[in-house]
């Protein structure tokens, strides 16, 4: 087990290092001097050229832009590891504070979507497998295919149109209350629900065809127990992987869903920061999100090794 974890760790570290290099490079690859971008925001009320120049110099000093690049990178990375991503150009607050303010909303949305897709996806998958080749099976399969092909923003607009505009049951935008969470969580969870339903169905059908299931049936176990106690345990192993992969999907999807539903989350903050050229904020969000993604996938891989011992030697 230890070598297995070590190997996975060795694969994750280069991704983390290259991600940090890429994110660090943003500030140096943008056209023009990043300080000019800050000046635009910071120089209200300063008009004399001397004070402009003094401001530029002080900002360069503050950002450490006079140091050689490798030193700048190490300095920046050191700060980033302590969750210090510097000051937002426009909002005059530490980037970490800004992200921390928005994080609960995003976590709430992603958590709700994950629970929804796991519970509903597995339930639908089991149902479709047990009622194979009936209309129930067909309906579940069509619903889950829709989840893969349907762009989340189009699905979101459809739900808003039906449930907010026509029926008036749920609010279309905003965050902070349960009724404002339902539609966004549905949208964000839909694709995962479809994937999990399809996989659970396929995996359960495969396991149900095995010899030991016949044995369990032959010794007279009630069909319900055969499925729940014997088949499902093995059938759910591949499902665990796909649940892990959801983490990345949810992170990416939340950016779009938050924008459609005007939720004050990290994703929307990222889009605002990009449009406003607030580079430290963009860097902080992207580095944190990418790290969360890599670490989540690492944890899934490792837990998969615990669940299925065969994988450790592979």
């Amino acid at each position: 087990m230890i070598p297995f974890i070590g190997k996975r760790l060795m694969e994750a570290i280069p991704v983390l290092i290259l991600s940090s290099l890429l994110v660090f490079a943003i500030l140096h690859l943008v056209p023009g001097d990043p300080v000019d971008a800050m000046i635009g925001a910071a120089s209200f009320g300063i008009s004399t050229p001397e004070s402009q120049a003094a401001l530029v110099a002080s900002i360069r000093e503050q950002l450490g832009l006079n140091d050689p690049l490798p030193l700048q990178y190490l300095h920046w990375l050191g700060n980033a590891l302590r969750l210090d991503f510097g000051q937002s150009f426009l909002r005059h607050q530490p980037v970490a504070t800004l992200i921390a303010q928005r994080l609960p909303s995003t976590l709430e949305l992603a958590g709700a979507a994950l629970v929804l897709s796991v519970v509903v996806g597995m339930a639908f998958g089991i149902l479709a497998a047990l009622r194979r080749n009936t209309w129930i099976d067909g309906a579940v399969m069509i619903l889950s295919l829709g989840g893969v092909s349907m762009p989340s923003f189009a699905f979101a607009m459809l739900l808003i149109l039906v449930f907010s505009v026509f029926l008036g049951w749920l609010p279309a935008t905003g965050s902070g209350s349960f009724d404002r969470l339902i539609l966004p969580a549905l949208v964000l969870g839909y694709e995962g629900t479809g994937l999990i339903a399809r996989l659970t169905r396929a995996s359960l059908l495969e396991v149900l065809g095995r010899e030991y299931i016949n044995t369990a049936r032959a010794k007279g176990l009630p069909p319900r127990l055969v499925v729940l106690r014997h088949a499902l345990r093995n059938a759910l192993i591949p499902v665990v992987t796909i649940v892990g992969l959801q983490v990345g999907r949810l992170l990416a999807g939340s950016i779009i869903v938050e924008t459609v539903f005007a939720r004050q989350g990290v994703g929307q903050l990222a889009i605002d920061a990009i449009l406003q050229k607030d580079y430290p904020l963009v860097q902080g969000i992207i580095l944190l999100t990418a790290s969360a993604y890599v670490i989540a996938n690492l944890l899934v891989d490792v837990s998969y090794g615990f669940i299925n011992p065969k994988i450790r030697t592979a």
Binding site: E11, A12, P14, V15, L18, S19, L22, V23, I26, L29, V30, P31, V148, S149, M150, P151, S152, F153, A154, M157, L158, I160, L161, S164, V165, A172, R198, L199, R201, A202, L205, E206, G248, L251, A252, I255, I256, T259, V260, A270, I271, I274, L275, K277, Y279, V282, I286, T289, A290, Y293, V294, N297
Partner: protein, 290 residues
């Protein structure tokens, strides 16, 4: 002696299989109809999707002269959808071409030369695969700035790893085949072997990836335009049209439905076609999960 009929090549046989797939043909017909509307109609009649007429703003579908109604500036929705179709299909194809060219070259070089070249290139590709696609797109857009061309580049770069992987796999499978040895023994250069002998062998797999890639590219570009990072007003891009329709949902729902339905239809048809192309090119692989 009568000449035997020429044996059918793999692509001809794939074409036969594809023609029997009704779902694939239906998807192709829908896509073809949209493509003809988008590319041919503007050639035949003069359309101006930017013609404003504030007196005629927010007309419902079925109004005289505006089959699908008008938007808040009184612009004809149908004409904007047609123009948007041309934009979406063009940038989608452009993004896939970018991924295919760069990714294909990386895969070809890595697979053919092997050794440390292969290890370094594939390591980079693996790292890119481990980095969420949307974050990479956001990094590239932050650096390049927003705009339709920049979003196309960002999405194109995001598609590189899959092409690189698949092309490398095909090259590894064929580079020790007899015809490659034969080419080398008559003194063909590395370049010649790679581009005239190995590239055709990788096309089958690359076509499958390209079809799915087109669906992903169209969807990603529309999503980024929806977020305000891609096409800028007044461009008639479907994702942007959908985003602009948000403000008028309560008074003019048709503004959201029309581009939404088209995006879903195009992405779904391209995906179905991708499934069929994969099955047709490689009948050993089954398309369904079960």
């Amino acid at each position: 002696m009568p000449a035997l009929p020429k044996p059918a090549g793999p692509y001809r046989r794939a074409w036969w299989r594809l023609k029997r797939d009704r779902l694939a043909i239906a998807s192709a017909v829908v896509l073809g109809a949209i493509a003809i509307l988008a590319y041919v109609v503007p050639l035949v009649i003069v359309i101006d999707p930017y013609q404003q007429s504030l007196r005629d703003s927010l007309l419902p579908p079925g109004s005289p002269g505006h089959v699908l109604g008008t938007d808040n500036f009184g612009r004809d929705v149908l004409l904007r959808l047609i123009d948007g179709g041309r934009i979406s299909l063009t940038v989608g194809v452009a993004a896939v071409l970018l991924s295919a060219t760069v990714g294909g070259l990386i895969g070809l070089v890595a697979g053919y030369f092997g050794g440390w070249v292969d290890r370094i290139l594939m390591r980079i590709i693996d790292v890119q695969l481990g980095f969420p696609g949307i974050l990479l797109a956001l990094v590239i857009i932050t650096i390049l700035g927003s705009g339709l061309e920049k979003v196309t580049i960002a999405v194109g770069i995001g598609g590189i790893p899959r092409f690189a992987r698949v092309v490398r796999g095909s090259v590894l499978n064929t580079k020790h085949d007899l015809f490659v040895e034969a080419a080398r023994s008559i003194g063909a250069s590395d370049m010649r072997i790679m581009f005239t002998h190995l590239v055709p062998q990788t096309l089958g797999a690359a076509i499958t990836i390209a079809t799915f890639g087109l669906a992903t590219a169209i969807l990603s570009i529309a999503s980024l335009s929806f977020l305000g990072l891609g096409a800028q007003p007044p461009t008639a891009e479907w994702g942007l049209m959908l985003s602009e329709a948000r403000k008028y949902l309560r008074v003019a729902w048709w503004l959201a439905v029309a581009p939404g339905v088209l995006i879903i239809a195009v992405v779904m048809c391209v995906n179905l076609l991708g499934d069929a192309v994969r099955d047709a090119l490689d009948p050993r692989i089954s398309s369904t999960a079960d």
